[in-house]
């Protein structure tokens, strides 16, 4: 097995262009597990941990650009106040040791339907910046996932960053697992309020072959809130609205039976999480319409 260790982003792109089979490795929290279990035998590993700029973030034109190699721990500490939904999800990843190693870029590259980082990115309308020696492109995150553990990267491309707008309204993330930590999610749900656009964003994990948005649920709720003028003068939501939202989220899912759960339970739990997180973000919006979200975990 070849081990490639570029020290600059340019070298990394060159290496990937010359070794399209190379498996990029950042924190190694997914790749090393797969190698250890012989699920994957890469001909070469492309180690991205030597590239300092990949583990940094910056702000341009009102959007945050998060380097693909930024570990979860730094994401929580440095951006948690502006990306509360993503921070809540990041706090549920693995253990402190794994959060010190694991990165958002790695999470995207694994493209697992159960990736904890994906639902908040979907709910916030994030974009994935991918790059090769041929150039750079920005993909809406929902176009990034193409199947179970499959994504839209060409063989010479690497994930360079995620572009995401800081929260303008309350955000939440909820996860069901069979243990509180160090467990792969049975299912996850993220919600984000976008008052400036009068929109609601959603993201579902472990609910289908890819992470996905519940678009009908978003349309329904955004429409209800706009029609009733709730964005400007928020009132408690009707039970029927909350229930309908939960049902539409559950209906967006097409989960499977697997070792972690049955499909029935996943569908049911997604509906429950959708209703609850909606209740939390809406309460917060009513009380502090200008606040950006709840930093603490659900």
């Amino acid at each position: 097995m070849d081990f490639l260790r570029p020290t600059s982003w340019r070298d990394a792109l060159e290496a990937k262009a010359h070794h399209p089979d190379a498996t990029p490795i950042a924190g190694g929290t997914d790749v090393m597990v797969e190698i250890n279990f012989d699920h994957r035998r890469p001909t070469s590993l492309l180690d991205l941990t030597g590239i300092d700029e990949l583990a940094s973030w910056s702000e341009h034109g009102g959007k945050l650009r998060i380097g693909a190699g930024l570990p979860y721990t730094r994401l929580i500490d440095e951006l948690g106040d502006r990306l509360p939904g993503l921070a809540i999800a990041a706090r549920t990843v693995g253990s402190p040791q794994i959060r010190n190693r694991g990165t958002l870029g790695g999470n995207l590259a694994s493209a697992s339907p159960a990736g904890d980082g994906h639902p908040p990115l979907l709910a916030s309308g994030a974009e994935v910046e991918v790059e090769s020696v041929r150039g750079t492109r920005l993909l809406p995150v929902e176009e990034f996932f193409t199947g179970v553990k499959r994504h839209a990267l060409a063989s010479d491309e690497l994930i360079s960053a995620v572009h995401i707008a800081p929260a303008t309204g309350a955000q939440q993330f909820s996860k069901i697992g069979t243990r509180n930590a160090m467990v792969i999610a049975v299912c996850t749900f993220a919600i984000a309020l976008h008052p400036e656009r009068q929109r609601v964003g959603t993201g579902l994990g472990s609910a289908a072959p890819t992470p996905l948005r519940a678009i009908e649920a978003e349309e329904f709720l955004s429409g209800e809130l706009a029609d009733s003028g709730q964005w400007d003068s928020p009132r408690p939501l009707d039970d029927s609205v909350v229930r309908q939202f939960g049902d539409l989220v559950a209906r967006a899912a097409s989960p499977i039976d697997d070792v972690r759960s049955t499909a029935d339970y996943r569908t049911h739990a997604l509906g429950v999480m959708a209703r609850r997180t909606l209740g939390w973000v809406w309460d917060e919006y009513r009380n502090h319409p200008s606040s950006t979200g709840r930093p603490e975990c659900a």
Binding site: G177, T178, V183, V259, R260, A269
Partner: protein, 823 residues
């Protein structure tokens, strides 16, 4: 490290919360784990395991592996067939028990996924591991037997065709036949109230921290084996008996051992194979397993189906208990496999005065990893079932579950009490422990909150679970073990040597692997001999330095081994007294021993133990017939088990929408008799609670329909972390055991035995108004939700405990050869 200065007499050693002597070394990494051993010329062993649960081995091609770099030998079961013998089972529970041949390495057939089929010895561990991939095994599938009930059907395929049955043995106790009580069928027929339930004890894995490891050095006069074992003495004897090697030519050392929980109470295939390889190659050989090897091949625990029927009168008085068990042995009988459920036979009646009792257990073979002892071994199963039944009866009668227990338990003035199962409980005070637990728990306030939440139809319901447990431990009176057909006795041995400088060496036959025996034994002997704590050295775990012993399991070390040390200390004092009287020219009757000093009554004359030791060492002037030196040894065989007990109360918040369970508070009040070191006791209780709660809520070994273990990593087998456990409120009451001079009962298993039913009772209690009367363990969110909705699983094969790494889908995790499951 600086020693804590001790002034004898300021604070008694017994009962003192000393920090553990052994920890400074352990936590700074100065440890001697077996895997740390490196000997000149040592080879490394790697093990190829069957990925298939039941198959005939058609052929094994190892030619390519033999040619690989660093490889010194590749051996299959066929190569060792004439010398490997059959792994021992020391507990033939019935005369007609069916016992399959258990070769350490499979020869013609594999009977569970994880069984050893070939081994490689190479110059490095990595070369040995790599060579496994080049071994090509051709398997011919045989039908797989997984479910116990169908395994007993007449038309079931057989795990071992030569046995003609999947039934290992059936063991029965009946109070009418034994003359200890009435006829249970009559009691059930006459019952005013009858409760019948079937409980499932899921399969568990003793997840000790240090994976197993063994090193064998054949180059000396003796074979020396270092092993991560709980049982060096048993291992030595069993190796000699299994392999026909003269026992004096084997020395077994258990160096630092990182946990066991019964999982290292075993004579393992790998220990025998490593021994044989070292002997054959004439070089030291080491084997250390990966975590996934532990999960698939180290023995599992529990795995029973428990069918119970309980009869009672309308006023709550219990009148009879009938227990019918199926116990899964897995594919082979290991050291004490068949006896584990039998250890529970005498415990189902627990602290209650049942007038009629019947127990029967059928042990069944399946194509799964063998089961054997796991923390509590038989007693957690019994305690779970009876405590669940008491709560079910209370619900049936609309009585408070604690009131029901009070009505039926043995009163504090009724000890000693001979139970329906024929055991004599020497001491206890269930009232005191329960009253204290209720006070700490705030029982009444929680019941009020529960009523409020029920009334309001709160999404999150509160449940309160009770477990008033007892256990038999301090294994064990040898005559009782004999009557249960166990293959050995239950005594323990100690030696005390007072060195010429007055320092003390204590040799013990128990074999600690995390319990803190070195500290506790130092306290016991320091107190007894009146010497400073730091002057006592405790030697253990080496059959050379500690020649007699039966090792550590069954909460026996203190109650049996600690007491042997007390007896040995008393013999030292007795001998020293004779010499002291001679030196002081007085009568022995005039001497009193206190604080390490023999004083002549009524005078200020006297002499210290150290002076006597030096005189006994010099031997210039000893009384007639007295041998030099102040050494003594003692073997202690207890006359009875000890019976710790306690009351555990658990409050859970159950989310009725998601099924998630949160333990809100947990209170336990344990009576473990006299306490030597409260800090160590507290640690044992915390760890025990964590393991018991883990069974209730998290852990399960899940097999798929082919018999592949799908929970073979810690991402899939859900050992709880601190984030999953509540803060424990613990306290103790104390009644002395009357069966030993220390008054100690044992604490290693109490927390595990008591806590599982407390948690499940709390979950069920929360949901009872919704019509739920049982939730299968582990009570995962999904299972709780299914219990609430009555929904059946949407797929028969969807297993529910896995964390979901799905690590084992290609026989992964352990090496399975180049065809990795070809058939």
């Amino acid at each position: 490290m600086t020693a804590i200065p001790t002034t004898p007499g300021t604070e008694p050693e017994l009962g003192r919360a000393r920090k553990r002597k052994e920890d400074a070394r352990l936590i700074t990494g100065s440890t001697r784990w077996t895997d740390n051993m490196a000997l000149p010329g040592m080879l490394h062993l790697a093990v190829l395991r069957s990925p298939i649960a039941h198959a005939r081995i058609a052929s094994i091609d190892a030619d390519e592996a033999r040619r690989m770099s660093g490889v010194q030998a590749v051996l299959t079961g066929r190569d060792l067939a004439d010398e490997q013998g059959s792994l021992p089972c020391a507990w033939p529970i019935t005369e007609d028990m069916k016992s399959p041949q258990a070769p350490p390495m499979a020869v013609d057939e594999v009977h569970f996924a994880g069984e050893v089929v070939a081994v490689v010895a190479a110059r490095s561990a990595a070369e040995a591991r790599d060579a496994l991939d080049a071994i090509d095994v051709d398997y011919e599938d045989l039908p797989v037997v997984l479910d116990m009930e169908s395994a007993l059907a007449d038309d079931s395929p057989l795990v071992h065709s030569d046995l003609g049955t999947n039934r290992n043995a059936t063991w029965t106790f009946d109070s009418a036949e034994a003359g200890t009580g009435g006829d249970v069928e009559q009691a059930l027929a006459d019952a005013e109230v009858r409760v019948e339930r079937t409980f499932r004890q899921q399969r568990l894995i003793p997840a000790f921290m240090e994976p197993r490891s063994v090193v064998v050095d054949p180059t000396g006069e003796q074979f020396t084996m270092w092993s991560a074992t709980q049982v060096p003495h048993i291992l030595r004897t069993m190796l000699a008996m299994t392999l026909g090697v003269p026992e004096q030519k084997i020395r077994v050392i258990a160096p630092d051992v990182g946990g066991g929980f019964g999982g290292k109470l075993q004579v393992t295939p790998e220990e025998v194979i490593t021994f044989l390889l070292a002997r054959r190659l004439g070089r030291p050989v080491k084997w250390t397993e990966s975590r996934s090897e532990t999960m698939v091949s180290a023995h599992h625990g529990r795995d029973q189906v428990q069918k119970l029927a309980l009869s009672a009168r309308r006023d709550g008085t219990v009148t009879g208990l009938k227990v019918e068990l199926l116990a899964d042995m897995g594919a082979y009988l290991r050291l004490v496999s068949p006896g584990v459920p039998i250890l529970g036979a005498l415990m189902f009646n627990s602290i209650y005065k049942f007038p009629a009792y019947h127990f029967t257990c059928t042990n069944v073979f399946t194509n799964k990893t063998p089961t054997d002892a796991y923390r509590g071994a038989g007693r957690p199963e019994a305690t779970f079932a009876i405590e669940r039944m008491m709560d079910e009866l209370a619900a049936e009668l609309d009585m408070d579950p604690l009131e029901l227990r009070r009505k039926n338990w043995i009163g504090r003035d009724e000890f000693p009490f001979t139970t329906i199962a024929g055991l004599t409980y020497d001491s206890g005070d269930y009232e005191a422990a329960t009253d204290r637990a209720l006070e700490l728990f705030g029982y009444r306030q929680l019941r009020e909150e529960q009523a409020r939440r029920r009334e309001q139809g709160d999404t999150v319901q509160l449940g309160i679970g009770v477990s008033t447990f007892t256990e038999m431990c301090g294994l064990a009176p040898s005559r009782v073990l004999g009557s249960l057909s166990y293959g050995a006795g239950g005594w323990e041995h100690a030696q005390i040597r007072v060195l010429p400088t007055g320092k003390v060496e204590v040799v013990t036959g128990v074999s600690p692997h995390g319990q803190g025996h070195v500290t506790a034994w130092s306290q016991i002997v320091a107190e007894r001999l009146g010497v400073p704590f730091d002057d006592v050295e405790v030697l253990h775990g080496d059959t050379q330095s500690s020649p007699r012993g039966l090792d550590t399991y069954g909460s026996r070390s203190l109650a049996v081994g600690g007491v042997a040390a007390v007896h040995a200390a008393d013999k030292v004092i007795e001998k020293a007294k004779t010499i002291a009287a001679h030196l002081l020219e007085c009568s022995e009757d005039d001497l009193e021993f206190s604080g390490g000093r023999f004083g002549v009554r009524g005078t200020d004359q006297g002499t210290g133990l150290a002076d006597v030791a030096l005189a006994a060492f010099a031997a210039h002037d000893l009384p007639e017939g007295i041998e030099p030196n102040l050494d003594a040894e003692a073997s202690f065989d207890p006359e009875n088990f000890s019976f710790p007990h306690g009351t555990h109360l658990c409050a859970t918040e159950v989310d009725t929408e998601t099924g998630a369970v949160r333990i809100r508070s947990y209170v336990c009040v344990d009576d473990v008799g006299t306490v030597v070191n409260p800090l160590i006791v507290e640690g044992q209780v915390h760890g025990g609670l964590a393991q018991g709660i883990a069974q209730a809520l998290y852990e399960e070994a899940v097999h798929d329909e082919d018999g592949t273990l799908t929970t073979a990593t810690f991402a899939d087998y859900l050992v709880p972390s601190a984030a999953d456990l509540p803060e424990f409120t613990t306290d103790r009451t104390e009644t002395r055991a009357t069966s030993n001079p220390l008054g100690v009962k044992g604490v290693g298993e109490a927390g595990t035995i008591a806590s599982t039913p407390a948690v499940v009772n709390a979950v069920v209690d929360a949901l009872r108004p919704l019509g739920v009367d049982d939730v299968e363990m582990p009570c995962s969110p999904q299972r709780v939700w299914r219990a609430i909705t009555g929904t059946r699983t949407s797929s028969d094969t969807a297993a529910e405990a896995g964390g979901g790494l799905g690590s084992m889908d290609t026989g992964g995790g352990f090496a399975a050869g180049s065809q990795g499951g070809s058939r």
